[in-house]
Point group: C2
Chain length 144, copies 2
DNA sequence: GGGCGTAATGTTATACAATAACAATCAGGT
DNA sequence: ACCTGATTGTTATTGTATAACATTACGCCC
């Protein structure tokens, strides 16, 4: 899916959910889309400053938080970064693989093991918030 | 297991692995042990400063990195914190459950599903960094 | 013991990440 | 127009982590 198509779909998606993809939020989303793999908040901030002059950290963090909340982005804790969710529309649970070396992101189907994980948690009375699991490591190209 | 027993066991464990649990590293480990749940680097730093006067961030981070490398501690990315690994002796993949409400942290054994996850990743040529997976959600006590 | 290489620690400064607190503005409903 | 709540702007600060280099301690060989 091209960035433009993605943005259009995101627009419709937010519309349908009754949330507002404002100009600023759209711009931040576009900036994240414009780069491959994991994107950092301060990188987005720098890009935003190039495009619209003044901008401060809270501006970026608020937009990113919104986008994560909507499910358009995922936060990658291990890297203090963000990645685009390739299919926010269908609510299925994915396994996201992030290469620490090159920043490549891919998604694997791991429904079975994810179900098992949730079950293991449930056995302890623990209710996981639904989320897409992220594994960091090295991709095929990058392990020496 | 009491802190003292844990420290003694850690000592033997490092000895056996040919790594050095120096006085400083032992002290940092003791400081982490002295607190329940998740411990933050700068909290350890403050404690260390109380105990030995001067101390700077790199001192603490290096000790914590060492302890994580040895498997004595786990880093909890989602919280920028560290937890004690209760069973460093047996090689294992842990599943760490963090309650968003009360902050409780527990480590569950989920070797099977974690193995499956790694396998799913491996099928794509992806090598996950050895890590302990974190699920956030609500614990037994907390889901209303 | 003296000298050497490596690992560990100390020190200073800085980079990177995130939020607090409050002011200003905008959009929709009545 | 007016009110209300959400969004964005602004300034300042707090929290997290590492770079770069100096110094000290340890093991080893001779």
């Amino acid at each position: 899916m091209s960035p433009d198509d993605y943005l259009a779909a995101a627009e419709r998606y937010c519309e349908a959910r009754g949330s507002k993809l404002t100009a600023l939020r759209r711009q931040v989303l576009a900036l994240v889309l414009s780069q491959p793999g994991v994107v950092k908040a301060y990188q987005v901030l720098a890009d935003l400053q190039r495009e619209r002059g003044a901008a401060a950290p809270p501006t970026v963090y608020r937009a990113l938080d919104f986008l994560v909340e909507q499910g358009l982005l995922h936060r990658v804790d291990a890297l203090n970064g963000f990645i685009v969710c390739p299919h926010f529309e269908c609510a299925h649970e994915g396994l996201i693989l992030v290469c620490e070396r090159c920043g490549l992101v891919e998604e694997a189907d791991a429904t079975n093991s994810l179900d098992m994980l949730h079950q293991a948690a449930a056995e302890r009375g623990f209710a996981p918030r639904r989320q897409n699991l992220v594994l960091t490591g090295t991709c095929k190209e990058c392990h020496a």
